[in-house]
Subunit: 610 residues, 2 copies
């Protein structure tokens, strides 16, 4: 076994483990978007070993000579054969903040969990009724109560230690726990949003109907690849691989839950329920269900319905008999996260026609109105999240999140430090500004003709240069960046964004056409997700991503997927609404439509297709 | 760690482990009736160590000088501090034999398991229905199907590998497995009878309705004590102890199941269901439910109803999503085994009045008739099973199972070898014959007056002698025994049997009185259990255990508890009948009845109380 030292711990790994795997084993994180293929160049770590590693082709491509000399490697490129000290660049995640979602107070509180304080008669030789029957016969209502081995296991002692004054915790007609004395004023649940990139857990007081706390982490499945296809491919390798991927997210969730419980002084067994949303692949992996056939056409999920499972069965560390509810999905690429968005947005209640766009690692769109709910999805997301972009990064500290081009380029950076890369909202801003300023043409080509270059302000013009392979534009000079290296956008980066943008705008076009309206008849556009929160609406319109509607018709609705999960946790009625909407939704499969291909090609141009 | 060598394996144990625990850890068995208190003297093993153990008081009491010299010890008396070689006397269990229960063919086959061969249409981009919905929509009937994560986990691959021709396995409205191609002619289940002393597993073909095989083992919980109270006391020590006791029986069952599967070439995942019976304590321990309050009055079980749990949750190695059904119990000391007996005997269908007596480790009695089912129980069993009797043993090889006294004593021994002890049926035979011959008086006292001794045949008389503390009767002289030691019945042994017999006959008296009839109005007596199979009816009548009915009204019905489990496995209708009978049964609690004490005292005499 080798000793691998991290800043805060030492782990022992077998020789032959890759550095990337060792980081996972240590419970640490590093960006990795290609699943260890060496094609994304994100998994940079600094390694100290007795014998230095020889750089691989991939490392020569992604790392500078000075980085290589300082011991930086790509973690996926080397297996460990000797003891090592690993230095990881920590990224403070901007999602890690307290949340309080005011809108939750607008729903009628009515969780499926109910608590019943009861005072039972004591058994005697004349009244030998079993503990379970004694309890159940005191419960209100006459419905038949499902047996729970976990509630029963300790029932005898709880009853007698509390003098037969207890509180029964019910989830629907399941008796899931029995607590000593009257605990009816206490009760918690969690809402979980499993994004491909980020996992967020909200701790809610389900009696008061408020969010107590929340925490987030990078999805630990990231080590199997940044996109869902990489993870499906890994999990398709057999039952053990599938279980490994499931274990990974479960372990991550359990860490967050433990932290939330500790910080808020709540015993895990007082968390009675979890409501989970995620894209269809994440939901399959979370439940340990083979997602293999989500990858190839015709993209078939194993299940679509709402699923609930006992927490102990999944290994989720809340009350053992608590139910874990996964909201329904609509299709292979329109998951319960989108259903959560529909619920939070009130897609079934809004007047007129609403377009809901959720761009995360993938892009899902919902068009509701005229009594219909239409959905479609495109694999357009990664570029918007900074993947596939040379200097792309998550919306974390050091990310360029805003760009303004006048006489020169002005940047807005997340946090206090220098620029480290560019996140999705920054990218759209940059492209919109570059298009407006004439740095790029409508077709996405960098200005190169003399008359094109002439009209650019001098300090902008000098940022446009020939890169290694293609033209590139310097967003931040080395003196203003954390690495000392220039941060540039290459022609290839522009193309990646164009492909993503083209897919989204083509999808919207097809939804609108299916409903028999024109894009300008849309009454409102709701942008879900962190992306929607940070994006500058003018820029989204500027690159033709959205139909050219008045700005006041465009709204950011935040992490609506998570909000939908919270609503389904706090209200059984809302949960049923989510189920109804998922059943009602008509999914438009874009992949096999020639019409989509046509619109997509047209949509590549920044003037757009609307 | 110490190396402890057995005939077929070596186990490593920590210093400080008792020899008894080490035997358990090695998965081996030794009799042990007192739970390691050193009061039963049953856990004899031969030990080779470098430094011999000094005999304890208990060993001086139970072992002969020559045994002590040969290295025999009581396994509960010593902790291991050095490597050791252990020699256990193997007992071939008479229960280990193939069974074919003809009566099973008389019930209408209709298990809750159904198999449905289906040919599904293949999904296309135009028909993106999920695999689960595709399958469920092809199932007959319109009932809503419960989701199973286990069936779903591998569904995608099973469908595609089999060209969408599969067989759905349902348990009621639960889809528990999906198998490739048409497997509707194959399907298995197990019926499990968890006795305090012996655990029996029957493997049944639930499609054909036949018993394929069966196997038995001593209940591995034996190491926590022979009687239910010792085990309750141990399990009451906290959650870990409770789980340890549960694990013990589960591990034992899994070994039997693995063996049955291997020998019959059946994959464990083709066992779709388990139906379990056992006394109320065994059922609690099997489910990991705290049995503490079964021990003290008022003897309250945690549950009484029929319970079913997913196999994976319990850790029972059959199909993960298969249900484990535990039949209902009637009271703290009238368990699902008795309900199984009622079912197998047809207590709700027999004409007239039927008395059912099941004497195992405890004694349960059922009186059915006049539209009522009455039950009671006594802790009378152990003496009948050879516990509490100096030379008592299970009905295994070497047990005296029959005794005849004429001019001398004639013995019937189980198996080929010499006598090793006496089992329950032999004991009753011996006492009945001794009473008839005048060796003991009606009050249970050994003949001692000259006129009493005079009438005994000389060779019988010379067997009657003064033992260490009390009088004793030599059943087998040392030349005819395996150990070379005389096998005797002491006055104390007679008293133990009298107490047991008194309790049973008093229980019967109270049941009969509750129904408002006389004992002679009973139309039939059904004797359940191995005990009932082996006991000589004349002897049972001879000691006044049963009412003095004509012999032809007394029937042995074999392991009716196990048969009831088989019936509930093969027929949902029969299972519902069992549930109905358990609800209908009126339990008579004897412990607090002065009337019972009175009858019990009268019933000690061999003339009896009927």
């Amino acid at each position: 076994m080798l000793d691998i030292k991290f800043s805060n711990k030492v782990v022992q790994v077998e020789a032959g483990t890759t550095i990337l795997q060792a980081i996972g084993l240590a419970g640490r994180q590093v960006e990795s978007n290609c699943g260890g293929k060496g094609t994304c160049g994100k998994c940079k770590v600094q390694v100290k070993t007795d014998t230095p590693y020889s750089p691989t082709l991939a490392e020569k491509k992604f790392l500078t000579v000075s980085e290589l000399e300082a011991g930086w490697v790509l973690a996926c490129q080397h297996t460990l054969t000797q003891n090592a000290v690993l230095h990881l660049e920590e990224q403070k995640d901007v999602y890690q903040r307290k949340t309080d979602f005011a809108e939750l107070q607008q729903i009628a509180l009515g969780p499926s969990i109910t608590k019943h304080p009861l005072k039972l008669s004591r058994p005697t030789v004349e009244d030998q009724m079993s503990d379970w029957d004694r309890l159940v016969s005191s419960l209100p209502g006459t419905k038949s109560i499902c047996f729970s081995r976990f509630a029963a296991a300790t029932l005898a002692k709880v009853l007698r230690d509390s003098g037969f004054q207890i509180t029964a915790v019910m989830d629907g007609n399941r008796l899931i726990a029995v607590e000593p004395h009257d605990t009816s004023s206490l009760g918690y649940g969690i809402a979980v949003d499993i994004g491909t990139t980020t996992v967020v857990v909200y701790l809610l007081d389900i009696i008061q109907g408020v969010v107590v706390d929340s925490a987030a982490m990078t999805n630990p499945q990231q080590i199997y690849g940044a996109d869902v296809i990489s993870r499906i491919t890994y999990a398709a390798g057999g039952t053990e691989k599938l279980q490994e991927v499931q274990r990974k997210v479960m372990d991550g969730l359990n860490k967050i839950i433990a932290k939330l419980c500790q910080e808020n002084k709540i015993p895990p067994e007082e968390i009675y329920q979890a409501v989970v949303v995620g894209n269809t692949t994440m939901a399959h992996l979370f439940l340990g269900i083979d997602p293999t056939y989500l990858a190839p056409a015709p993209f078939i999920p194993v299940f679509q319905q709402m699923v609930d499972v006992e927490a102990q069965e999944l290994g989720l560390d809340i009350l053992a008999a608590g139910r874990v509810v996964v909201l329904p999905n609509v299709a292979g690429y329109v998951g319960s996260d989108t259903v959560g968005v529909m619920l939070a947005a009130g897609a079934d209640r809004l007047e007129g026609v609403s377009l809901i766009v959720d761009i995360g690692t993938s892009g899902e769109m919902v068009l509701s109105g005229k009594g219909r709910i239409l959905t479609c999805s495109t694999a357009a997301g990664p570029a918007f999240e900074g993947a596939e972009i040379r200097y792309g990064m998550r919306a974390a500290e050091g990310a360029i999140e805003g760009v303004n081009i006048t006489a020169d380029v002005e940047l807005k950076i997340i946090g206090e430090g220098k620029a480290r890369g560019i996140c999705g909202s920054g990218l759209i801003d940059a492209i919109a500004e570059m298009f407006k300023a004439g740095v790029i043409t409508s077709s996405g080509r960098y200005a190169s003709e003399p008359e094109e270059l002439e009209q650019l302000p001098p300090r902008v013009r000098e940022r446009l240069r020939k890169g290694e392979r293609t033209n590139e534009f310097v967003l931040a000079w080395g003196c203003d960046t954390a690495s000392g290296e220039d941060i540039v956008l290459s022609q290839k980066d522009i193309r990646a964004l164009q492909l993503a943008k083209g897919a989204i705008s083509a999808g919207i076009t097809l939804l609108v056409r299916e409903m028999g309206i024109t894009p300008l008849e849309i009454d409102r556009v709701l942008l879900a997700g962190a992306f929607g929160n940070y994006i500058k609406k003018e820029s989204a319109l500027g690159i033709g991503l959205l139909p050219p509607l008045p700005l006041e018709k465009i709204h950011a609705i935040g992490n609506a997927a998570g909000d939908g999960a919270k609503m389904a946790l706090l209200s059984l009625e809302e949960r049923i609404r989510a189920e109804t909407m998922a059943k009602q939704a008509e999914h438009i499969e874009l992949s096999n439509k020639k019409e989509f291909q046509d619109e997509f090609l047209k949509g590549l141009a920044f003037e757009g297709i609307f």
